[in-house]
């Protein structure tokens, strides 16, 4: 069907709200978009699908006025328009929620929402009116509890996402673009988000929705446009008529089994590599105890903001524990990241860009960031050996493009994630802590990463995985800890629990 006739003809009468034709975007160094077509109707949820680096974000930034297309045309109500800057886009009724959390920490919730279109009289802000409106919008979003006067910097990631959503709503847009809005949300929040999207479409607003979670697209989307290597490979497929397998085929050019690797099981007598006892961090979390044996993957499930990242960071010594101990191979760890690293712990942090990568350094230096001293001789760098070690991992992980002298900035999200994993592969880890290892990673890369994690465990590493996608935790881990509100409310084999049970536990925990 796709190959035969990409133009769906079911509703020929309806005039598209937005049409992009032959969009080309060249960056110095890359042709990000190479002739993309997109057509969006009022009141629909139009999903954009594509692997990491396919050009989704670039396309919507073009639409939002953040980038200027090199060629191609944009039509609104069949009228050609130029979108010279973000203001122009907003004026045309296009509001965008960007992939990065684009909020200003030092401003309040209300100020963030009205940033750029402040309610003001002669430049003087009308603060109470802004607060009132903000309260209304937050109420609509189901987040009454967030005060309009709260500084956004004090909100957790999910809260910031809500603020971004509220900002888009405040604009009275005709088209709302959402670039991976669900990436930082937990399942409950995602449900909430979907409800809002449906409300919007019911009002005739079109939503362009980008996500790597295919189930989500199934639930929410009306039609799908698939991008690959900067081109539209399929336009406006009707979701209901298109099987997932076909989508994956379109995106990746091959068929990928979206499956978790086998769990060989951990030998009863396997050494406990990581032992955490009574670990606590102020009032963030308390009394966390867990043991990870060689070859075992332990998953931490829970809502966003439940303290999972903090648990990993505290184990890693990046935060100073207020109670408890961490042992690796029986030896107690003194605090500090360097102690953890030399004891053989590695952490792939949640925020790749701000916490993981040196964006303007070559890939190989990113990969050897925790090992270059070891590779060096007497303080003298051995860049040849570093390149060789990096190249080995780049090939093993199929990191693309493969050149190790490229700057990390020029890699797509999924490939950046692989580079981070490669860092610890070169280092060799007894304990690997992975925080959201597949966030924003496309399906193809995702199963590669799953396999990689399993392989590491099979080679004797003790692994802890944090993920907000419960199926991922359940599918990948041997054992699961459910975290709620800074406490472990359940621990048990992953096979013996399902998504609903986890959610129930989480809810109970947070009520208690």
């Amino acid at each position: 069907m796709v190959d035969a006739d990409p133009q769906p003809t079911e509703q020929p009468a309806q005039q598209p709200l937005l049409r992009m034709r032959g969009i080309v975007k060249e960056f110095p160094g890359a042709r990000a978009l190479d002739g993309v077509d997109l057509e969006v109707r009022p009141g629909e949820v139009h999903c954009l699908l594509g692997q990491n680096g396919a050009g989704k974000s670039t396309l919507i930034k073009t639409l939002a006025g953040a980038h200027q297309p090199t060629a191609g045309e944009i039509l609104i109500d069949e009228q050609q328009v130029t979108i010279a800057n973000p203001v122009a886009a907003l004026r045309l009724g296009i509001a965008t929620i960007y992939q990065e959390l684009d909020v200003v920490d030092g401003l309040t919730v209300a100020e963030n929402i009205y940033l750029g279109h402040e309610l003001a009289t002669g430049g003087v802000t009308r603060r109470s009116e802004a607060a009132r409106n903000t309260r209304k919008i937050l109420d609509r979003l189901g987040h009454k509890e967030i005060s309009p006067h709260r500084e956004v910097g004090s909100l957790p990631a999910a809260g910031k996402q809500i603020v971004q959503l509220a900002r888009a709503l405040s604009r009275d847009a005709r088209v709302v673009i959402m670039d991976e809005p669900s990436a930082v949300l937990d399942s409950e929040e995602v449900g909430n988000l979907h409800r809002i999207v449906r409300e919007l479409t019911a009002d005739g607003v079109a939503v362009v929705y980008i996500s790597h979670r295919l189930e989500e697209i199934r639930q929410l989307g009306d039609r799908i446009t698939v991008l690959k290597d900067g081109r539209t490979v399929a336009q406006s497929l009707v979701v209901a008529d298109t099987p997932t397998k076909e989508l994956i085929q379109l995106m990746t050019g091959r068929s990928v089994e979206y499956a978790f690797p086998d769990r060989p099981g951990v030998a009863e007598d396997a050494d406990p590599v990581l032992q955490v006892e009574g670990l606590g961090l102020g009032d963030v979390f308390a009394d966390v105890s867990l043991t990870v044996r060689a070859g075992e993957i332990v998953g931490l499930a829970g809502l966003v903001g439940s303290g999972r990242s903090e648990i990993l960071e505290t184990i890693y010594g990046a935060r100073r524990a207020t109670s408890g101990t961490v042992r690796v191979g029986g030896k107690r760890l003194r605090s500090g990241v360097d102690a953890a690293v030399s004891a053989g712990i590695g952490l792939c942090p949640e925020e790749r860009k701000s916490q993981g990568l040196l964006l303007d350094e070559p890939v190989y230096r990113n990969i050897t960031l925790s090992t270059f001293s070891r590779i060096a001789r007497g303080g003298l760098l051995d860049e040849g050996a570093e390149r060789a070690a990096a190249r080995e991992q780049v090939e093993a992980l199929d990191l693309r493009p493969a050149g190790v002298d490229r700057h990390a900035r020029t890699l797509s999200g999924g490939n950046q994630q692989k580079a981070l994993l490669a860092r610890w592969l070169v280092h060799g880890c007894r304990v690997l802590l992975l925080d959201e290892p597949t966030r924003g990673v496309d399906v193809g890369a995702r199963s590669e990463i799953y396999n990689l994690i399993r392989r590491l465990a099979d080679d004797g590493a003790a692994v802890i995985v944090v993920s907000s996608e419960i199926p991922e935790v359940l599918g990948l881990a041997d054992r699961v800890l459910v975290i709620s509100d800074g406490k472990a409310v359940h621990e048990g084999p992953a096979r013996e629990i399902d998504e609903h049970a986890v959610l129930d536990l989480v809810m109970e925990g947070s009520v208690a």
Partner: protein, 325 residues
């Protein structure tokens, strides 16, 4: 809770400053008694704070936006010289004292706008652009002044600026008005909120539709303008324009702003803090002079105060963070 902490936060942060100022005042009273705690002396302290104070208000905006302006001292010098050339003074005799004021403000504004152009449109790091302006403005001021101190002879100018309504010198009033206006501008207007936004997250601000280049241009213009006002105050106080006016003023100003709690990295600014910072340093100088203490010791004390205030602030900030979680 979040409501309360939003209000408590700044108050707590100010705590350290108020404490420091009170401490200094106590030391002043203890060591110099009435010589310190007299109306006359307090007015002296405020008068001496006026130039630094006014320029610090402009600097607060620039730093809040994530920038820096090293040229303010040199621009004060240049503006003072330009506003006191013979030509300007003749014009002031003919048309009125305001000619001097307008000249100083215009020179400051233009210098500031050039900084802004270089930073916003030339994409130069602010440190470098304003360092270049520092050198160039001093050079130009020397050339214009011919290395002479230019004595101002326009009586009506002094009638206005040396007056003392309600017993308080006009220049102190100017400081008060500029500070109040700065507070309002930063906290109650779109301009101010956008300044914080640009400093906190420039990319997000751009995507929200803020014309950050233009805004940056205005910010440096504003800083230049306050330098112009500073020049007027200096003219009024010293009765003369000189290319050496404002020497090293930039360091005092930046110290006051940052000690006051504005983040050097941008994204958070406080006018109240800046005013407190300015008062702390001018009280310090005063207490030292009252006690006939050496300026070398004073330099050391100044260093210690900077360290102490910043560390204290961080301590307050960390307590605050704990209390909100």
């Amino acid at each position: 809770m979040s409501q309360r902490s939003a209000l408590m936060g700044p108050a707590l942060r100010m705590g350290g400053l108020v404490l420091a100022l009170i401490l200094l005042i106590v030391v002043g009273v203890a060591t110099a008694g009435e010589r310190f705690w007299s109306t006359g002396n307090l007015i002296t302290v405020l008068s001496l704070a006026a130039v630094t104070g006014v320029v610090s208000i402009g600097m607060t905006f620039v730093i809040t936006s994530g920038g820096i302006d090293l040229s303010v001292g040199a621009v004060v010098g240049l503006a003072s010289v330009w506003a006191s050339t013979l030509a300007t003074q003749y014009a002031a005799e003919d048309y009125g004292w305001w000619v001097i004021v307008v000249t100083a403000l215009a020179v400051g504004l233009v210098a500031g706008l050039i900084n802004g152009l270089l930073v916003a449109y030339g994409k130069m790091p602010a440190f470098m652009a304003t360092l270049a302006m520092l050198a160039a403005a001093r050079g130009l001021a020397e050339i214009i002044a011919g290395r002479q101190t230019q004595i101002v002879d326009v009586e009506p100018f002094f009638d206005v600026f040396q007056a003392r309504p309600l017993g308080v010198p006009v220049i102190v009033w100017i400081f008060v008005v500029v500070a109040a206006a700065g507070w309002f501008l930063l906290n109650r207007t779109t301009f101010g909120r956008r300044t914080v936004a640009v400093g906190g997250n420039p990319e997000a601000s751009r995507l929200a539709g803020i014309k950050i280049k233009r805004h940056t241009l205005y910010l440096y213009g504003l800083a230049g303008l306050t330098a112009g006002i500073g020049a007027v105050i200096l003219l009024a106080r010293t009765t003369a324009g000189s290319s050496t006016h404002g020497t090293l003023l930039e360091l005092d100003v930046i110290a006051a702003v940052v000690v006051g709690g504005t983040l050097l990295a941008g994204g958070r600014g406080t006018i109240t803090g800046t005013v407190l910072g300015v008062l702390i340093f001018s009280t310090l100088t005063n207490v030292f002079v009252l006690n006939n203490l050496d300026s070398s010791v004073q330099a050391i004390a100044k260093g210690a105060i900077i360290v102490g205030a910043v560390l204290l602030q961080q301590w307050f900030a960390s307590r605050e963070r704990v209390s909100t979680t």
